[in-house]
Symmetry: C2
Subunit: 146 residues, 2 copies
């Protein structure tokens, strides 16, 4: 990793070491705050902005990407995996994934047709997860569109 960063003009530091390690351990849909807490367990002197900057750095070097589920908090995903979309439960805020190979394959021709140069493709499905569906079978939340 030190070498990889060097080739891109960045230095390795103890804090960065911890942050990178933590990020790749936690895995996906992490928020800055979550990662910050996690990092503090290893070294409680690491600053919030350092965690933030390094998360941005991980994105810049192409190892992660920002995920926006519309709840005002930015999450971060590793990009070292298959293309995938997200299920976002509006009740428990839990994020799960689904494989998106086929969807992506369908989307590319659409972009090509409009001569749009694609950087990233995102699919987000919001709704209620199985667990929360069961939980809210009774206590209904005054539906506006009855």
């Amino acid at each position: 990793m030190r070498e990889f960063l060097k080739t891109k003009g960045f230095k390795m530091t103890p804090q960065r070491e911890i942050i990178f390690r933590a990020f790749f351990e936690i895995g996906d849909h992490v928020t800055v705050d979550e990662l910050y807490r996690r990092v503090r367990k290893s070294d409680n002197s690491v600053g919030y902005s350092t965690v933030w900057r390094n998360l941005k750095l991980i994105c810049r070097v192409g190892l992660a990407e920002e995920v926006n589920l519309g709840d005002g908090v930015t999450r971060y995903d590793r990009v070292t995996r298959e293309p995938h979309g997200h299920f976002y439960c509006v009740q428990c805020k839990q994020v799960t994934e689904f494989e998106m190979e086929e969807i992506v394959a369908k989307l590319h021709p659409i972009a090509d047709k409009q001569l749009f140069h694609v950087d990233t493709i995102k699919c987000e499905i919001s709704g209620v997860c199985e667990t929360c569906q069961k939980k809210t079978d009774d206590d209904d939340d005054t539906p506006l569109v009855s």
Copy 2:
């Protein structure tokens, strides 16, 4: 519209009249600020928060939905149309659409399989639009990867 709102327990006001009208005229991917400016042309005494609240209201009654393209600004789309995804040009910030009927049809079974109750489906493709591609053929922006 007055009647429609009444059935949902809301009143009609001059400001609301203007805001609703403006929203459905402008059409899509409007930001609060854009709509606010537009509304002020009809009546420069309308407040920003009123525009914001009414945009939220339009969403609540199911006539619009929030669109999040990851640039920190919330946009609003009418929902009275075919399901569609968005192209977002990271250079000129322009938003265009693409038809998504078929994609949605493929996505639903995926959600069903995980027993996820779907509220909304969003597909966002970020990249560079045709116009901006031509514009930036020369002045390259120091690519980090490569």
